[in-house]
């Protein structure tokens, strides 16, 4: 379910995070479902457990998952998911838009892009 692309420039923990988030968004990992343990995921993927641990810690800090002492980590419930993700993505979008603006990218071109995206969605 979680796959890692070694040629991807993103750090491993980032890839794990993104994979888990995608799974939660698409419903593969429904709310309150238990996540695999750090150990089992580490052995499955053959990567350092700390990497997994870091991914889990950050996801928890960002509110995507929660942990219960002695039981493990679980996917956090529903709707806030998307809001959170929207927030995250818009945060990423801002500097990109800034740069586009400095390059002379027009609002119309942006709108066209938006519409183009809708056609594909």
């Amino acid at each position: 379910m979680i796959s890692l692309d070694y040629r991807d420039g993103r750090p491993l923990y980032q890839q794990v995070k993104d994979s888990l988030r995608r799974m939660m968004l698409t419903g593969l990992l429904p709310p309150d479902e238990k996540l695999p343990s750090v150990r089992s995921l580490a052995t499955q993927l053959a990567i350092n457990p700390n990497t997994i641990q870091r991914a889990y810690s950050e996801l928890e800090a960002e509110g995507y998952i929660y942990s219960v002492a002695g039981k493990g980590s679980f996917a956090a419930s529903g709707g806030d998911e998307q809001q959170r993700r929207i927030r995250e993505l818009t945060e990423q979008l801002t500097p990109v838009l800034e740069e586009l603006k400095t390059l002379g990218y027009t609002q119309e071109a942006l709108l066209r892009l938006w519409k183009g995206g809708e056609n594909h969605a």
Binding site: A46, I47, N48
Partner: protein, 299 residues
């Protein structure tokens, strides 16, 4: 915690270890990297208690390793050239280790029979190098060590087996808090499994950091400017490396990504991109300052 403090070792006038200091935190997976002849195998043999240093200390949890069976029982070593008794098979070697390492687990031995496709009754001498390596792992892991030292261990294994082995080892790291010290040339692989890295050259440790620290705080930037001349960059930036192809400049900078990006923005580049560094690149650039020949070849 494994420590080497100012270890010096000379062989016939050749100073193999020149005041080497390194620390492997408990529970870490520590990757020891360095060019050939840097002293990796030598320090590993010191940590294993095979060699005795001329000066300095080699400690496990504060206890000197040399000639201390109580300490050595807690660790096992897989060397780059593993030795078996003539005519021995895996089962015999297992009995041998079981007699010397009190924590040896026969239960694990039986379980791992499913993992390693080896005949335990076949003479080890008759097996291929790769199979012998697998046998080494099988036996070593059954000793249930707290500290595992690997000298270029997985280089002889096929990719499937390599992954199996790392799974096994990392499982132990996660579950039992095993500390692993692995020396290798294969930085690609170390990148996945290590959480600490030590870079070794000419008998000294040049750099010793946690991997996340290294990767998060070393940034590779590709920058392009409208003019022809290169602007003067902010003085506080720790630039490890700079080069350019035409108008595109590449900088390797130490510092946090966001911080650096913000600062670079100020210089008003036409193009500004940050690319995460691989361990291989970090290794080369760190050593590049120490007259390592390959510095400008790779980009």
């Amino acid at each position: 915690m494994l420590e080497a403090k100012h270890v010096v070792k000379t062989f016939d006038g050749f100073r193999a270890l020149d005041g080497l200091t390194m620390t492997v935190p408990t529970g870490a997976v520590y990757g020891l990297v360095g060019p050939n002849g840097a002293g990796k195998s030598t320090i590993i043999r010191h940590l294993a208690g095979i060699y005795r240093q001329d000066s300095g200390e080699v400690l496990l949890d504060g206890q000197p390793v040399y000639e201390d069976p109580a300490v050595k029982r807690r660790m096992t070593v897989i060397g780059d050239d593993w030795y078996y008794f003539p005519q021995a098979n895996i089962r015999e070697m297992a009995h041998f280790f079981a007699g010397l390492y009190p924590a040896f687990s026969w239960e694990r031995y039986e379980k791992l029979k499913q993992v390693f496709p080896l005949d335990e009754k076949m003479m080890l001498r008759r097996m291929s190098k790769g199979m012998q390596k697998q046998a080494a792992f099988w036996l070593t892991v059954c000793c249930m060590p707290e500290y595992l030292i690997l000298d270029e261990p997985v280089d002889g294994l096929d990719p499937v087996m390599r992954r199996q082995v790392w799974s096994l080892l990392l499982g132990d790291v996660a579950e039992r808090g095993t500390t692993v010290l692995v020396s290798s040339h294969n930085l690609r692989e170390l990148e996945d499994v290590c959480d600490h890295v030590g870079i070794l050259d000419h008998g000294r440790v040049l750099l010793e950091r946690s991997l996340s620290d290294l990767q998060d705080n070393t940034v590779k930037l590709q920058v392009a400017y409208p003019g022809v001349t290169e602007p003067v960059l902010p003085a506080e930036m720790q630039i490890l490396h700079r080069s350019h192809v035409g108008r595109v400049y590449t900088y390797i900078v130490r510092g946090s990504r966001e911080d650096i990006l913000r600062r670079m923005q100020i210089t008003e580049p036409v193009l500004l991109e940050s690319i995460p560094l691989t361990l291989e690149e970090i290794f080369i650039y760190e050593l590049g300052g120490v007259d390592y020949a390959a510095k400008d070849i790779l980009l």
